[in-house]
């Protein structure tokens, strides 16, 4: 280690008589030169006195032997050199060890020595012994006010633990008087358990080694009661650093401990209470917003266990959009600036689902007002919110349904009602796919369907089917049914209206037909009337002339016979015209009855007499079955017309077979039968033969206009009677006329002028 230029420098330094004189004469300070490795190069008088080594004992040795074993083990000497090198100066107060092994309290400064080019040549170590100063300080602190201190028990023990001093505070705290305590071992102040475990000795040993030990624990008073004590034991050395005993300062912390215990218990109760709360998430955040505590309610509401969430930032309870908007931080700021922040908003559970939360965030500060964190109380209002929303939704749906119902009432067109209801369902339920299916159509799978009831029980018009991505609530389904009911009513109405319109159309057509038919009939009647009149005029001249010729006589046969036939034909022509006129009068309701009292039996005989010749020509025997006398009040000419018509029909259709005319009296009613055994009438034809221009028989075989029975019916009905027929095809027909003996018009006699017979 005695190498080149450095050594030369040092030798030169050492050779400096002046410096040597200065350093060596200094007795208060130990001054030593160290080479870069810490080997002692010089050793002055102060060093010898303070540290106990002679120069020859230490020069050439490493300076680390001046340190305590602990410091050496910790590498402290080298650390100090390195620090000096780095900063230019290392100063430290601490224990150093003398040659004899005793310790002294030292103030030490180490500075590096550099040559001109900056390289390190070594170190200067200057060490002062501070033991004296330290002891003086210690004595002042210990001895002067100690006796009068009452708040602290201050006493000294010797190295074996025997009590040597006892102050007022000790007496007061421990209950022993000075004369009772001094001379006894301080272990009497410990609990038997601590004493048995060797705690007092252990504390002394630690104080001996470390200079000081502090302990908090139970101590025992003279009366056996315990108190919680804060104890500091300090080692006391004599002037040479030799252990002479320990000071022991004991403070009674019982009161503080009780208060702390109560506080702790209160806190514990509060903690237990908070932890057991299920309905509220109650937890704490640190100042930065990280979760610090977590209760069962928080776990229940948010889904995280304490293990999962404690230490995590609370922003994860917020929806992503709010996190990116910086809402969690803003809420913390608000809470810390105003003390409290409250809101209702969406929060996110562990599984990602949202819930509607009531949140109160309070800033928590310590006694000095320093923010230590936040308390957060969160309630899950989802149920309440959902219930409120459902109620509101239901109310809205009701009003929408009512509105649609009104619309359906005011709107005649089913298409419009359907379109509007589809739109209403889409808008109200926020779904895209809603359709109507007719009964029998296959419904889409997965759709929610409700029936559109038809008025008939167990029948439907169809179904209203809604497909939604979200599940439909009972509310929604009830709303759908309400819509379906509106549709059902609208459909039923539309159907009824359609039926009504059809019926009205048919009725109108029917009316139109009737009117046309009536008009046609009127026209025909008018035509008949006019035609009959027009025919009568020439017929008048013709008939008068023929009759005039016949009357004038003087015609030889066969001319006279031919003239006679011509007269008969004109008379027949006149009767046909009369009949036509009758029909037109009947259909115009212009027939008036002129009743008179007469014997119907006589009239029947007369008519039969008139028909003798045509009947004979038809080879039909006329059989009469008549009572003596059948009187009544009727229009003689009209009734005669009925008889003529019935009889001429019988002769026409019953040729070759006997014809029977019969009269019967039944109280106030008279019955007339005219029966033939001719061709008869088919059942289908029976009802229409009493109509105008109706004939059951084919026209090519039987002539005639088909007016006879029509006229007969009207005459009989004008007498408030009835006419009917019983007939079998091929077996003949029996006509029956039933007349009341006194027709209503019989009483209304009227002034009659002379009449010509038609």
């Amino acid at each position: 280690m005695q190498n080149g230029p450095v050594q030369d420098e040092l030798n030169a330094l050492r050779a400096s008589a002046e410096l040597r004189t200065v350093t060596e004469s200094i007795q208060d300070c130990a001054i030593a030169l160290l080479d870069p490795q810490g080997v002692v190069l010089t050793w002055n008088t102060g060093a010898r006195q303070i540290e106990g080594y002679a120069a020859e004992e230490i020069v050439g040795q490493g300076f680390d032997r001046l340190y305590t074993e602990e410091d050496r083990a910790a590498g402290r000497p080298q650390t100090l050199l390195a620090e000096a090198l780095r900063t230019g100066r290392a100063q430290q107060e601490g224990w150093r060890v003398r040659n004899d092994g005793s310790r002294f309290w030292a103030d030490e400064v180490i500075s590096p020595l550099r040559v001109e080019n900056g390289a390190v040549k070594g170190y200067v170590k200057v060490t002062r012994d501070l033991t004296r100063r330290r002891e003086q300080w210690s004595e002042e602190r210990t001895l002067l006010p100690v006796a009068s201190v009452t708040d602290y028990a201050i006493f000294m023990v010797d190295p074996e633990g025997t009590i040597t001093t006892w102050n007022l505070g000790a007496e007061r705290t421990k209950g022993y008087r000075a004369d009772e305590a001094i001379g006894r071992n301080f272990s009497m102040l410990y609990t038997p358990e601590d004493a048995a475990a060797g705690k007092p000795r252990r504390l002394l040993r630690r104080a001996q080694e470390d200079g000081r030990v502090e302990d908090e624990g139970w101590r025992v008073r003279k009366d056996g009661s315990r108190f919680w004590a804060d104890v500091v034991i300090s080692r006391v050395n004599d002037g040479n650093g030799k252990l002479i005993g320990y000071t022991k300062i004991t403070r009674d912390l019982t009161e503080r401990r009780r208060a702390e215990e109560q506080l702790r218990q209160a806190e514990e109760r509060l903690r237990l209470m908070i932890e057991s709360v299920q309905d509220y998430a109650i937890f704490m955040l640190d100042r930065e917003g990280r979760v610090a505590t977590w209760n069962r309610g928080a776990e229940h509401i948010k889904g995280y266990t304490a293990q999962e969430i404690v230490g995590q930032h609370f922003s994860r309870f917020y929806p992503p959009e709010e996190i990116s908007a910086g809402k969690p931080e803003r809420e913390l700021e608000l809470a810390s600036s105003t003390g409290r922040f409250e809101e209702e908003a969406w929060r996110i559970r562990k599984d990602g689902s949202r819930f509607w939360a009531n949140v109160v965030l309070s800033a928590t500060r310590n006694r000095d007002g320093v923010l230590i964190g936040f308390t957060k109380v969160t309630r899950d209002l989802s149920e309440r919110k959902r219930a409120a929303e459902e109620t509101a939704e239901r109310a809205r749906q009701h009003s929408v349904a009512a509105e649609l119902g009104l619309y359906a009432l005011q709107t005649a067109h089913l298409d419009q009602v359907i379109e509007r209801s589809m739109q209403t369902v889409r808008e109200t339920l926020q779904i895209d796919d809603v359709r109507i299916f007719r009964a029998g159509e296959s419904l889409p799978p997965g759709a929610r369907t409700v029936r559109i009831h038809a008025p008939e029980p167990d029948a439907e018009y169809g179904f209203l089917a809604a497909s939604a991505s979200r599940p439909l609530t009972a509310n929604d389904v009830a709303f759908l049914q309400a819509m379906a009911n509106v549709l059902a009513v609208a459909m039923a109405r539309s159907q009824s209206e359609e039926q009504l319109r059809r019926a009205e159309r048919e009725a109108a057509e029917e009316r139109g037909n009737t009117v046309r038919v009536q008009e046609a009939l009127l026209e025909r009647d008018e035509f008949i009337s006019v035609a009959a009149h027009e025919l009568r005029t020439p017929l008048t001249a013709l008939q008068l002339k023929l009759q005039g010729l016949e009357n004038s006589g003087g015609f030889p046969q066969p001319k006279a016979e031919r003239l006679c036939a011509a007269v008969r034909q004109t008379e027949r022509l006149a009767r046909l015209i009369d009949r036509l006129l009758d029909v037109s009068r009947i259909s115009q309701g212009r027939v008036e009855m002129a009743p008179e009292i007469f014997d119907l039996a006589i009239l029947v005989r007369q008519v039969a007499e008139d028909f003798r010749e045509p009947a004979a020509q038809a080879r039909a025997a006329l059989e009469l079955q008549l009572p003596e006398k059948v009187e009544g009040s009727w229009d003689r000419l009209r009734i005669e017309q009925v008889l003529v018509n019935l009889l001429s029909n019988a002769v026409k259709y019953g040729a070759g077979k006997p014809i029977t005319m019969k009269l019967e009296e039944l109280g106030d009613v008279v019955r007339l039968f005219v029966a033939d055994r001719g061709i008869g009438i088919a059942t289908d034809d029976v009802d229409r033969i009493f109509g105008r221009f109706q004939r059951a028989a084919p026209i090519r075989n039987y002539g005639g206009m088909g007016l006879g029975l029509y006229i007969a019916r009207h005459i009989v009905e004008a007498h408030r009677g009835t006419i009917s027929v019983a007939s079998k095809l091929g077996e003949g027909s029996t006509f029956m006329v039933e007349l009341p003996r006194l027709s209503a018009t019989a009483a209304a006699g009227r002034d009659k002028g002379p009449r010509a017979r038609a």
Partner: protein, 128 residues
């Protein structure tokens, strides 16, 4: 064929010429003296020009210029003519009520049977 007419006058008021002539013919056959007119107006002239009043007037209803009803009204206004009986002769359906309305002494429905015609005329011209 002795004539019951005894040359008494009968006025025929009828627009149809054939009918008018046929009526005149058959009445003349039984010795009446028929006057005739084609309408009411002509009939009034005939009556006022005649020296003897007819014992009956056979009156058609529907005629041009002056119809039967107008003629009858005119007749009733003239005291010299109002007493002459009138028999309405028509094919009209409501002949009897029309006859009453016109205060006719009787009516005959067209076509008129010769016997009925002669009986009616006899009824008015046979007395005196």
């Amino acid at each position: 064929m002795t004539a019951p007419g005894c040359g008494r006058t009968v006025l025929i008021v009828e627009d149809d010429a054939d009918t008018r002539l046929a009526l005149a013919e058959v009445l003349r056959d039984v010795n009446y003296r028929p006057l005739h007119a084609a309408n009411g107006s002509a009939a009034l002239e005939e009556l006022r020009a005649a020296t003897t009043a007819p014992c009956v007037i056979l009156l058609d209803v529907m005629m041009p210029i002056m119809d039967g009803k107008q003629f009858r009204a005119e007749l009733q206004k003239d005291p010299a003519l109002s007493e002459i009986p009138v028999v309405v002769l028509s094919a009209h359906a409501d002949l009897d009520s029309a006859a009453q309305q016109m205060q006719a002494a009787g009516f005959l429905r067209k076509p008129v049977e010769l016997s009925a015609l002669l009986a009616t005329v006899e009824q008015f011209c046979g007395r005196e």
